[in-house]
Each structure stands twice: as structure tokens, then as C-alpha cells.
Amino acid sequence: MIPNIVECHQVTKRYGQKIALDRLELAIPAGRITGILGPNGCGKSTLFRTLTGMVRPDEGRVEVLGKTPGWRTNQSIAYLPDRARWYPNHTARQALEWGNSFLPGFSMERAIQLADEMEIDLDMRVGGMSKGQEARIMLILCLARDVDLVVLDEPFTGIDVMSREAIVASLIDFLEESEQSILISTHDIQEVEGLFDYTVMLKEGRAIWSGNSEDLRAEYGSLRNVFRKLYAKEWND
């Protein structure tokens, strides 16, 4: 039996009156490329912040890599935060050196290779880059790590179409070679439809569907159709 890389049992997280995760039950198998899908505000980022130990659930139990999340488990997790930016005064090279200094499993050689493939000038200041170039650097910080779990929170948000295509192409190359478990959250399914082999659909802090992407497609058709049916209200809004 394939072990689970993530397990959530009755996990609840509230922000004042708002419930971000509502008695979430979830098990994600290891070694898969998992899409965490759902509209804005469905709890994707809160789930990822919980997995990286940044926030603690009010109730319930979370396990990632078989342990309670915390700074120690982040040694084995490459995490791209939601709406993240990079330090404007750093050059791309300094950003990679940051990764080399602080991120276990980071390969500088691999990072420079990825930067070359993504056409990033290593001596360029981040402050002078487009959002797409900045996003590619942050993606490199995750993809150049040899760790058990890669977590990418909305990696395509706010990025122009050309950069999206470049990022998706890099991701596809990476996923072909990788044996890591990967979680990618997005509310924008068009570019990534074919990336996932396991899918979790979140709605209002609960997992309303999880399983093999093939089964999901067999049941509903394309992921676009899944969205249309499972999130009828949000889709029409």
C-alpha cells in the first residue's frame, strides 16, 4: 500500500467568524502529482500553510511526511508561498545563493541550469524584473531541491501568459524526471489540466472529491466540466 504524504483528520481552522478549513478529512498518497483545486477562498492556502507549520489548526490532526508539521518537517518540503515576492535588491544569483544557504537539498548546479533554461539573467536585480521573471526565480528555488515533497501554492497567479507557458513547460520537464510528491494548488485549471494524476477538490474548507484524476475525468469529463458541476455557484458568479 502506498503511504500517504499528507493526512488531515477533522482539521478545522478559523479566522474570526470565517472558517477556512472545516473538519477537513484528507489523505494524499506519496509519489503523485496532486492538484489541490477549488475557487478562491476554499482553503487551499490555509491547507498549505498548515502543512508547512506556519499556522496551527484549531482542531483536528495534520500529518505531513508522517509527522506533525513544523519547522523541522520543512527540511523535506520545498514550498512556494501564495502571492510571494522576492527581495528587490537581490540579484537572481543572490536569490539562488539564499536557497543554497538555507534550503536543505538545494542544488546550486541544478538551479543555475534551470535559470539558464528559463532564460534568467543571474546578474539582474529582482527589482528590475517582470513578475513573470521573478516568479520563475521563486519556482527555481523550489524545483532545485531534492526533497520528498514539493508544495506550490498558486504558482501562476498574476503572471502574464508567456511566463505561464514557460513555467508550465518547466514544470512538465521537472515532473517527467522527478520522483517527488508534488502538491500544486490553483483556481485556474486551464494550463494545468493535464499535469495532475491525483486531484483534490476543495470547497468551503472541505474536500468534496479526492482521487485519481482519471477517475474524476471518467466521472465528469474534463476538469473544466468538473469545475462547472462541482462549483456551479462560484462558476456562475
Partner: protein
């Protein structure tokens, strides 16, 4: 605590990482900023020299430009955390797989080193200026310069030795705003701002009024209370850093 990673964290904190808000404003070329700085410096030196030539400059008054330092030091600590949120880099910072105490201690040490750097630079510039005065204007002697430096060492070393607690308080305030106990923030702002005012009362203990009087300053030795004050300051700084690390680990509200 003092591993290679910690050293790199401190180095990272010590360097300027920039600020997206300032970045997004209409940019004034760096050369202009240098020109503004030079103009202010020249105006300050020019004014001081004008009064010196009239034998009206009480050199110890020069140190009064550092009177805002306790507040500057506080906001240096506060800004080191605020910038992570302002730059939207907090997700990267918080997921560095190091203990929260190390993350916080690196910010604290990075800020303290900045205080040291600023104070040493100021001390050297001010001392060199007064030395030049003492060699070129008969009213001022080498003794004037020596006593000026002695007073500077006393006042600036007071700032440096008390700044650990002030920086720690600034960092705590920066973190507190992102935790579940953020309703305490307004009260603590009042407490910290009022407490910073006490730093100036300490100067009465450590540097008597006569040091800033129009008469030539005299070397005043440190009072016996100072080691106790510094020890309490450092112990409290450590306690505040511990509390901040606890909040970061257990009480974040993102």
C-alpha cells in the same frame, strides 16, 4: 546557535534587501540621493564650522544629533520584521527550516550590528571633525577633542549596550501584529514608546548634566549602577526574544 547557517542568516539580515513599496514609487536616481545627503552633510558641517569660527560652538552639543537614536533603534528592529510582510517574503522567511529562536536571533543580531556600524561611523566622522577644529581654531585644543570623544564614547556606548532590549522590543511588536494576540498591540505600543522615554532619564545617571553644559566637558566615569542596568537589559532582551520565538512558532495568525 552559531552555526554556518546562523552566520548566513545574520549576514542576510545585515544586508539591505530593498523594499517593494519604495521600489514602486517614482524612482529618484541613486546619484540624486547621494547629492541630497552630501548637501545636508555640508550644511551641518558648514553651520557647525560657522559657530566654531565665532568660538560659539560647544562641541559636545554635536552629540545631540543622536538623541533620536533609541527610537531609531526600536524601529530598526520593528522594520526588520515589517519588511518581510511589506515585501511579501514572510512565507520564505517563515519556512526556513531553522528554529524560530534562530530566525529571531538572526534578525536581532543583524539589527544590532547595524546599530554598531552606524554608531562607529558617526563617532569616527564627528571625532575627525572636532580634531580638525582643535588643530585649526585656537579656541579649541586637543583636550577639547579628547573630552568630546570621551563623552561620545560614554553616550554612544550607552545606546549600544541598551539597544539589545530596544531592538528585541521592536521585533516583538513586528511579530505581535501577525499573531492571535494582536489586540494587545495598541497597549504595548504605548508601553514601549513611554519606556523609550526612560532611556533619556538614564543619561542623567550615566552622563551627568555637566557633560552637555556650555563649559568644557569633563571625563565622567561610569556609575556603579550601569553594569546592573546593562545586565537587566540583556536578560530582558533574551526573555523578549524567547517570547517572540514562541509567538512565531505557536501563535501565528496568517
Amino acid at each position: 546557535m552559531f552555526s554556518a547557517v546562523f552566520r548566513d542568516l545574520v549576514r542576510h539580515e545585515f544586508r539591505s534587501k530593498g523594499n517593494w513599496k519604495k521600489q514602486n514609487r517614482t524612482r529618484i536616481p541613486r546619484g540624486w540621493w547621494r547629492a541630497y545627503f552630501l548637501c545636508i552633510l555640508v550644511a551641518m558641517i558648514g553651520t557647525a564650522t560657522y559657530f566654531a569660527l565665532r568660538n560659539d560652538l560647544q562641541v559636545n552639543a554635536i552629540w545631540s544629533i543622536t538623541l533620536g537614536f533609541p527610537y531609531i533603534v526600536f524601529f530598526l528592529g520593528f522594520g526588520s520584521v515589517k519588511n518581510e510582510w511589506g515585501n511579501e517574503t514572510y512565507g520564505w522567511w517563515l519556512t526556513i527550516p531553522e528554529s524560530r529562536m534562530r530566525l529571531i536571533a538572526a534578525k536581532w543580531l543583524g539589527s544590532w550590528l547595524k546599530v554598531w556600524a552606524a554608531i562607529l561611523m558617526l563617532f569616527v566622522i564627528a571625532s575627525v571633525y572636532v580634531m580638525i577644529l582643535s588643530f585649526t581654531i585656537p579656541y579649541y585644543s586637543f583636550e577639547t577633542a579628547r573630552e568630546f570623544m570621551a563623552t561620545g564614547i560614554q553616550w554612544l556606548s550607552l545606546i549600544v549596550t541598551l539597544s539589545p532590549l530596544i531592538i528585541a522590543a521592536g521585533i516583538l511588536m513586528g511579530i505581535l501584529q501577525h499573531t492571535v494576540i494582536r489586540p494587545l498591540a495598541p497597549i504595548l505600543w504605548v508601553v514601549f514608546m513611554a519606556a523609550l522615554g526612560l532611556t533619556y532619564s538614564l543619561t542623567d545617571i550615566v552622563i551627568p548634566e555637566s557633560s552637555f553644559s556650555p563649559q568644557q566637558s569633563l571625563w565622567v566615569s561610569y556609575p556603579l549602577e550601569l553594569p546592573a542596568i546593562v545586565a537587566v537589559d540583556w536578560i530582558l532582551a533574551f526573555a523578549v526574544l524567547r517570547i517572540t520565538a514562541f509567538l512565531l512558532e505557536k501563535k501565528l495568525d496568517l
